[in-house]
């Protein structure tokens, strides 16, 4: 219950922030990727820079060490990243942005989200059949 409520609050804050920053607009994302406007890129980099010492501090201050799983390199890292990057540039949406766009009333995001579900499902079928490595997932984190 506490986790659900917390996730809801974080979701509202994340959606509001992403929408106001401009991450949910296709042309803004396009201008980021073509370096016509560095605002989104700098915003993202600032968030990462702020998080680096924050995680260190949390780890230092917590009495029981937090269980953060390592994110190792595996054969799917680059290939998956390239596919995702191409899809992001074309659709203007990473997984969370699709939800933000839908919340804004961009109905076209319904198809993007449908595609995200389908693609995720397709990989779950393809992986055990053709690939040998253990991929892990961010759901374990």
């Amino acid at each position: 219950m506490k986790a659900t409520l917390g996730a809801g609050i974080v979701g509202v804050a994340l959606g509001f922030a992403l929408s106001r920053i401009g991450f949910s607009r296709w042309d803004e994302v396009h201008r980021m990727f073509t370096f016509q406007d560095l605002r989104l890129l700098l915003t993202f980099m600032l968030a990462v820079v702020l998080l680096v010492p924050t995680w260190v501090l949390i780890r230092k201050l917590s009495t029981t060490p937090p269980r953060w799983l390592p994110r190792r390199i595996h054969p799917g890292t680059v290939a998956g990243g390239v596919l995702f990057g191409a899809g992001w540039a074309l659709s203007g949406a990473c997984p969370s942005i699709g939800l933000v766009q839908l919340g804004e009333g961009q109905l076209g995001a319904l198809w993007t989200l449908g595609g995200v579900f389908l693609g995720n499902y397709l990989y779950s079928v393809v992986h055990p059949r053709y690939f040998r490595w253990t991929a892990g997932s961010c759901v374990d984190d």
């Binding site: 680096v52 390592p70 680059v78 990243g81 990057g85 540039a89 997984p95 076209g108 198809w111 595609g115």
Partner: protein, 99 residues
Amino acid sequence: VNHWPFALGGAALASVAVLHWFLTGRMLAVSGRFTSLVDRARHGASEGVLVGFGTRMASGCTSGHGLCGVSRLQPGSLLATAAFFGAGIVVSFLLGALS
């Protein structure tokens, strides 16, 4: 017979149609909205498939790898983020060159 309800209803519908034109610059034609939404479907869905397939294959997306993984200096996250930003840049420039 009281004809006022008919007059009110007709006036309301007419007003809505005119208001729609004033606000959007288009005629009020709802089925067309479905048509344009469906016509975009194959496009949007196939792009979404790349996102869904790719993020699962790379074990993460912008939040998990880009934000939380990079800031913890995780090797898999650094490489995946470089890959998806790199691909995004290449595809966006290709898109610009094609259009």
